[in-house]
Symmetry: C2
Subunit: 647 residues, 2 copies
Amino acid sequence: MTTVDIGNGRNGSTEGKPLVHKVEMPPKRSFLKEVGSGVRETFFHDPPIQGFKGLSRGQQVLQSLKFLFPILDWLSTYSLKMFFKDFLAGLTIASLAVPQDLGYASLTGIPPVYGLYSSFVPPLVYAVLGTSRNIAIGPVAVVSLLLGELLKQELSPTEDAAEYLQLAFTATFFAGIFQAGLGILRLGFITEFLSHATIIGFMGGAAITIALQQLKGLFNLFQHFTRHSDFVSVMRSVFGHIDEWNWRTIVMGLLFIAFLFSAKILAKKKPKLFWIAAIAPLTSVVVATAAVYLTRADKHGVHIVGHVKKGLNPSSFHRIFFSGKFTARAIKIGLVCGLVALTEGLAIGRTFATLRDYRVDGNKEMISFGFMNICGSFSSCYVTTGSFSRSSINYAAGALTPMANIVMASVVAITLTALTPLVYYTPNCILASVIITAVLSVVDVNAAWLIWKIDKGDFLACMGAFFGTLFVSVEIGLLVAVCISFVKILFHVTRPHTAILGNIPGTTVYRNVAQYLQATQVPGILAVRIDGPVYFSNASYIHDKVLAYLEAEKLRVEKINGPKVRYLVIDLTPVTNIDSSGVQAFEMIEKAVKRQQIQLTIANPGTSIMRKLDASNFISRLGSEWMFVTVGEAVQVCTILLNLQEA
Amino acid sequence: MTTVDIGNGRNGSTEGKPLVHKVEMPPKRSFLKEVGSGVRETFFHDPPIQGFKGLSRGQQVLQSLKFLFPILDWLSTYSLKMFFKDFLAGLTIASLAVPQDLGYASLTGIPPVYGLYSSFVPPLVYAVLGTSRNIAIGPVAVVSLLLGELLKQELSPTEDAAEYLQLAFTATFFAGIFQAGLGILRLGFITEFLSHATIIGFMGGAAITIALQQLKGLFNLFQHFTRHSDFVSVMRSVFGHIDEWNWRTIVMGLLFIAFLFSAKILAKKKPKLFWIAAIAPLTSVVVATAAVYLTRADKHGVHIVGHVKKGLNPSSFHRIFFSGKFTARAIKIGLVCGLVALTEGLAIGRTFATLRDYRVDGNKEMISFGFMNICGSFSSCYVTTGSFSRSSINYAAGALTPMANIVMASVVAITLTALTPLVYYTPNCILASVIITAVLSVVDVNAAWLIWKIDKGDFLACMGAFFGTLFVSVEIGLLVAVCISFVKILFHVTRPHTAILGNIPGTTVYRNVAQYLQATQVPGILAVRIDGPVYFSNASYIHDKVLAYLEAEKLRVEKINGPKVRYLVIDLTPVTNIDSSGVQAFEMIEKAVKRQQIQLTIANPGTSIMRKLDASNFISRLGSEWMFVTVGEAVQVCTILLNLQEA
């Protein structure tokens, strides 16, 4: 091999312009700076407090208070006109909330009144602390079901009713501690490990599971209904006791389901009529309750809600287990439910923020959710979060601030103090109908179809979570979702894409020859691009792959009698990071090609790559003249050298 | 915004050359092809059988046999000259193997003779099936210790000696099944999840742990030595029983350690004298045994090996638990030991293959290891793999083929059938000295230092594994190593690097302004590069980050009174893959910037990115005219449009 020296940027210029440019070595950073920048990007990429500079002490205090209690921020510019909108929205969601609360509580296995309690204190706390303007807080179907499933593994909701409730409050307390803790420690990115696809699958599966649970109310099967939530057990319960079916509840339930769905479809077609869908559940409840009262259907076996205790939330601080054998289990249950509640709530908050073009601070939201559940656990509430059905009604009704939550909480409070006797005759089948129509809209077939079109692996994850939830249990479905998400990440980093590059005619641009069919390879030179970071998990794959490309290229050249490959250009543009195994892989590639009389050249190494290749002395061993800013310049220099060698 | 149409490649040409090039949409692939290519890259990137085409049926059979039994391949060109080299190498490693085997077996807690058995059958099996030319097979220190630790959790090696051995064979059997299974299912990449850094740390910690264990033999503490392997317990055992120290064994042991280390250093300085280091252990054993025999030191408390059963490996097939309570535990132990053995063996095979410029097939190696352990478990052997100390001696001695393993096995066989009475008087302290010098060379301080220089995160992983092994247990150290490796992967995919791009003066190249300080941003245009795949785990981070860059840029422009940002160019060169969450993130970015009257343009999307953006209709919504092959062309078009808007 000739020893012509084409020092980068030093010679070989045309028309005064340098032929090649020097790859810049980024300025050295100290160890602390390096760690600091890693920590900052991981935990503080959205700094909690901004724009503090240049303010007086008083303004700083005010700014901090506004940061801690966002209510101070929006109340300072609040107007009567805004209140009017929030008031209407609050009323609308309250009319949806009351029937939902009664039903969701029984999903958890606790008396219906606790559902109402949970729609009173938490929304008030959120209104003070939260940053989302459209979210509506309350118990949600999936978390209610999940909490119920986990609690029933420990205790019986009927035989150990008191302890069962205590465990529920304790789990709620720890869910809050966990949520607030994640927010304070800025570990919000943990919720991102549940992928969009798995959430779609899990929510869909959970929604159908919840709908199936409602068959108990719809068919009036209060004697022999299974404790399990999987499809097979529920079907066996429903069809194994046909003799217990009550035609009154079935007819009433189906009629109302038809009514509620029609209202939904109408609202979807004419968005201005959203209020019809919003008040339909309450209307149904009123009509059904009146019907039962007038016909005394409860005497004919129609199951009714019955007596609901009057009065606002009683304190439950003394009912939380702070020690004893149930504490550890409550922590576990709280962790799982807290995480699911957080994921759902954050997703809803982000969705509406994007629609209205404002930002919700993920870590702050977590702290709000956390405090609202801690306060809730002290006042007889179970785990709450942002509810999808209520939030979308709230959004459609034009809510502008969290004031809508305050209005809703007030209506619930009035219900609790004065109106509970009215729900005595409410048939359970109407609650079942309300819940079925609410949850089935969560089954997002379009989203699943889009996922199928975009990414088959994602679709697999989606279906795994869906069927796991439907046929085993909510817990297992969630576990499947998390596992598949992780396995996906691991697969992605194990087999990065690689490509052979060719020149796009008439340019100095090099692109994947499999994508740009007009791109042509330059004789004597093989240009390869590695598409992704080179880590321990893929270093030996990358090493093998690059050498395999070289082998294949040699064979191809031999067949067409072309010039031998003398230069290997590795484009590192997409290689954003390497670790010590990655550096080792490059060293091994360099040694392997050198033995074959081939010169390795590197194109466009990034900042951290340059640092690491330098620290390992790779650059000085290879020679910094073989590092180029672009593939184009690398090929240009190699071509010149090839011509010199021939001459 | 003006509506000038700069269709890609359609108009705006200079000197006949097109101004911009069209981003190619890769040819559509069917679902099966897509899945197929994923499976191929994951499992078959190195197809097991190549070059089958164009061969006759007979040749194909021969080729297949050679593939299944590589011995047929190399034997067909074997010569006497080659045998001479292999013979010498085999003799050399045998002289190292015998003392090591006796010592390693006691690390596992089984009688010394089983160490010798394990150096007879497995090397023969490997010689038939294996593809590495330099690896030397036998029991290794780390696996012996790990196996011993795990077995002792189940049974006592002294009180339940028979069952203990049975459990060891059963674990070996399942280790083999697991190894062969991984190879057959082509899941070899699982071993890659142990990063280089964690292996360095783990091996270092294990080596010191093993050396510490040898203090038992060195100080003659056979009465009260701890069963634990952590640093603190061992130190307590050694210094808590000073009255039991035997000065004879200490002096003898230290003398031989000094001798063995000197031999090693000499061999390192003068590579031609490698054989001195190779035969030093056997020489030491012979000298020490003679000394004990002549002085009858065993009567003065010097612990000796004692009676070793004569004869070749007895069958142990009937001793394997195929059912009963120990089977499940043996499977667990076999899994862990099998994985560690595999990782070590594969690493050694790869290292020497690189030095000699040939390839070992990872999946085939696993099958060889698996069969060798299965056969071993039937013939009284415990888990074996490639030994680092023996393989490097084998390499230095010039071994050319696995024949060296056959020679070594033959020497061990002769020892077993005829020479076992000779080791009766061998003092245990000399075995301890041999092991200490063998394992301490595994502690690779230079590698650790290099890791520190290259990547601080890697170093943390390395130290975690090191201290976990040293201060808790080998098992925990391994667990720490694996966990840190996984957490590292997750961190990497959660917070990808991003950069603002600037133009390198005099070119159309755009590079990170933080790396290339001379790179300048173009007024009115913000170019951002995303350095890595956009997945669910980082999609919302990327979304936030890009919009934050835009905010910062707006502020910067406001300060210097520059022109408003009207175009956002996102360079997707390093984005090698996206999933449905990633597509969603781009959609949300597009909506967000549109509301700010900013046009999004995409530069250099890769094959799979184009497919996915197309499947989700992102391209048709954005308009394919806003997709560019390079950042340079995107900026060029945006600049023209900016000028038109001004005019």
